[in-house]
Symmetry: D2
Subunit: 309 residues, 4 copies
Amino acid sequence: MHIGLVGLGKMGANMRRRIREAGIEVTGFDRNPEVTDVPSLEALVEALPAGERIVWVMVPSGPITDAVVQDLARLLSPGDLVIDGGNSYYQDDEPHAAALAEHGVGFVDAGVSGGIWGLENGYGLMVGGSPQDVERAMPVFDALRPPGERADGFVHVGPVGAGHYAKMVHNGIEYGLMQAYAEGYELLAAKDLVTDVQATMRAWTQGTVVRSWLLDLLVQALTEDPRFGAIDDWVEDSGEGRWTVDEAIDLAVPAPVISAALFARFASRQGESPAMKAVAALRQQFGGHAVRAAGAETVTPSAPPTSEA
Amino acid sequence: MHIGLVGLGKMGANMRRRIREAGIEVTGFDRNPEVTDVPSLEALVEALPAGERIVWVMVPSGPITDAVVQDLARLLSPGDLVIDGGNSYYQDDEPHAAALAEHGVGFVDAGVSGGIWGLENGYGLMVGGSPQDVERAMPVFDALRPPGERADGFVHVGPVGAGHYAKMVHNGIEYGLMQAYAEGYELLAAKDLVTDVQATMRAWTQGTVVRSWLLDLLVQALTEDPRFGAIDDWVEDSGEGRWTVDEAIDLAVPAPVISAALFARFASRQGESPAMKAVAALRQQFGGHAVRAAGAETVTPSAPPTSEA
Amino acid sequence: MHIGLVGLGKMGANMRRRIREAGIEVTGFDRNPEVTDVPSLEALVEALPAGERIVWVMVPSGPITDAVVQDLARLLSPGDLVIDGGNSYYQDDEPHAAALAEHGVGFVDAGVSGGIWGLENGYGLMVGGSPQDVERAMPVFDALRPPGERADGFVHVGPVGAGHYAKMVHNGIEYGLMQAYAEGYELLAAKDLVTDVQATMRAWTQGTVVRSWLLDLLVQALTEDPRFGAIDDWVEDSGEGRWTVDEAIDLAVPAPVISAALFARFASRQGESPAMKAVAALRQQFGGHAVRAAGAETVTPSAPPTSEA
Amino acid sequence: MHIGLVGLGKMGANMRRRIREAGIEVTGFDRNPEVTDVPSLEALVEALPAGERIVWVMVPSGPITDAVVQDLARLLSPGDLVIDGGNSYYQDDEPHAAALAEHGVGFVDAGVSGGIWGLENGYGLMVGGSPQDVERAMPVFDALRPPGERADGFVHVGPVGAGHYAKMVHNGIEYGLMQAYAEGYELLAAKDLVTDVQATMRAWTQGTVVRSWLLDLLVQALTEDPRFGAIDDWVEDSGEGRWTVDEAIDLAVPAPVISAALFARFASRQGESPAMKAVAALRQQFGGHAVRAAGAETVTPSAPPTSEA
């Protein structure tokens, strides 16, 4: 088997390696000349057998994925197949599938989880598409997913879009899990009783109800930097968390935990919070409460507090 | 009528004035010699008629109120009455009442709302105690509460503790209201479409469903400082919000809004968030995601993003 | 002046009356023959002077508003003006304005607040559009808004879309305010100390920090039905709350309170919660904890509890 | 070695077995004659060597643990040691230690995680106490914790109270994790695109970022009952979640996720929500919005909706 792989960033490069190690030939294309196998998308397409091509797309979601899919729609031949393995919004999948179908090209959306550890451990895969298209790509999925008794790490979730939908929800859960551990970490770190936060969380990795891979990673991070002194409290979000809450709203599903985790990230990136300025201003108005002048390190002295009034 | 008033801070001094304007004689005591009427608590007690004394306590809740109540238990005579008008925790009222009852002294707890505007508008009052004790103090409550058709602003909520319980819940609600307006303010301020946030919120003060006194105050604050440029996003909390959530937990009452408002205040005072450092560290572990070094202004460049992995 | 008004439901009928009382002639159209002034939209258009027409649209947002706007684009003449006073999504305004502009017809979006009380009190108005279009419609806005010293209840927020954006945020705030009062109500109702919940909340309407029109209404509701015995805990949501949270997500604005209020409504309408079934199932798995069989009134007896394990 | 074990419920009985399998003699006492080894606590104490006794207490926290500790203080001899392995509130540990110390008896608090699976897998242990007391009990801890390379599952967290503090935080995290998975489950179950929820979550157990023991259990639960048709959405909480949020409030640590998970449990157990009745009543007041009569299955028909007003 010989497939194409577009996008050789952190994830794509690792996946190329893992697929090759499974005995499948991979021609990779990336705009970065240092990592690409061929000079152009056209060259990638030409390197593969027309009508039997499988091209895995692993580029940032949104406009870049859109552009690559449009280019492939133009370049590929009837019978070829495109797999979008990026973190595309699931509602983009149907339009992508339709654009490719106009040229007789099939489409599968694949949610891929595992991060930089997937190279070694295998990737969790959740895919959407027709049974035929998914069946055709199974050798590639088999190469990527965890081996042996862990081969459960693959699922054909449903029709086109279902793979990315499942990945979106997966990531929404992930937001909630991370925030739960983070709140617990802070509660340990804030308490004098706890003499070694890292050792305590390490102990949780065995036998307890909260043991998980994320906990293993958190312990690893604490081992490297016991109080996260070298890291800022600034947390990006990458789309899936937002989409998950949007979806919850659309489906009228209460999602207090996932949304709280998302909002905590938003707040982490605000140099200052307009909302909390408004609350401070309000307290000053009704209670004459002390406020901190912008930029001040200490609160302005005030008359003895009389609480919230 | 002639009463005593202990504590002449912002609230107490205003209340002394309002009670006097209603024709009731007030002897006030404060440790601040510039505002006190008498040099000591003993002098205050002596200035009032034994067995008929009413002493209003208006000092910070907790240890200071505890101390004043203990002192009064020692100094007062059977038949006297103490009113705690501060923001005491409602579970402290019963012990205070018991300590005073040992000396034959009555006790009423009074939640007082209205802040610095109460002098002019009258104060909202919610009191707890025996019918007899409350009845005795009615002239004082009448002096403090809003006059005329707004005289509804008084309620005898129930037995000792009920007044402060109601005040606690009142303040918990207040946290939620303030945060709701604040989130709305931020959503207006963040949007290009809105050319004048202050004018928009001012329009809300008339005819709309969200009109309220707090909104009036927020508009006033915006008039003074249109984008809160001179104010820090640092918001104190004064006990009642915490107690309200504690109480919700104790009663198994879901309180997602009040607790969210409380936690937003906690977060506003954190120079950096240990929890969000933990989340940032986790993302770096599993995805090789870029993090910001502590103190950095910009994020470390990284390989093309691969989302949440 | 003579204007058209499309949609004579609860809000529209009241507005027709208020505008007429201000001396402006109104021709109203509704599909309900019992309330309409004319038999068709065409008849409404013909009743007004071409090139000077103002047609206020007050129908449910979404497809019905879309259809009315399309019909008006076809029927109206250059120089006419359409005002959408419904609760349309602000991102629908620009397309509506564009569709009308093709026929030389102007467009103003108007957020209207005040509910069934607006007839008597006047409506809070927040509008978007060009200065010229807004200027032309001012007599109508003047008729609707609160009179005299409360005339602040009108604002020209910004360009097309700004009025509905402000109304959306207004309603998002409203969700938060209502939930805050509701949580406080439940905390009063759950506590033995509080002998009269209605009287307590009534006292809050005067002098306190939490006084507001919504509180007045809540007290009115409690007066009619002291423990809400005749009302179900089932709360609809009408779009603006969802859009507000969607917008918060889009702008990366933390909105923990408004989202919590929205999710509480979602949860109120679930006969049973799939998520909480999942939590119950999980507890059973790891701890052998008792669960309630679906439909059961009491929990299955189990071995002595061992907490969360 | 020969120890005593008080409390042979689900957890205690399993632990007796696991400790015995490690070669330590165990005399167990329970009020249930079918499971106890001795007829009384006195008999248990007599069966052990005075001055060297170790008695593990594994009974429900609160009054029952209090009573057992008081009984042991009376019965034990100087040099003996009590280990509280239940889910006691960490602030109860110091008083328990003091009561025992009066009789020369040592005290260790041990948080134990692992549920009914601990018998097979070993238990995660987090303990508090003096180094000497902990050292003495190590053979018992070694018997209970996971073996071999998973022996990390033990930590001496700090002084008396620290073990239960860590367990409390552990359980608070657990609440957040469970709710995150549950919200994700509901989002999968609510979506037509997902043809097999159980298979999708099963795939997540391998290779993904969200893999964990709790996820394994959730998949197991779904395997037994694919849509949780036999289980009610009624979720108990057992104290640690409440204490965790109380502690967050006390330490001013934002805990939006753990508190949201706790409140979701509270809400799950409410036959009807007073707060949501209040919100429904409010909507009816200002907008004339339809409400559902208590007990009704369908909403009362109303005039065409005009949103939130």
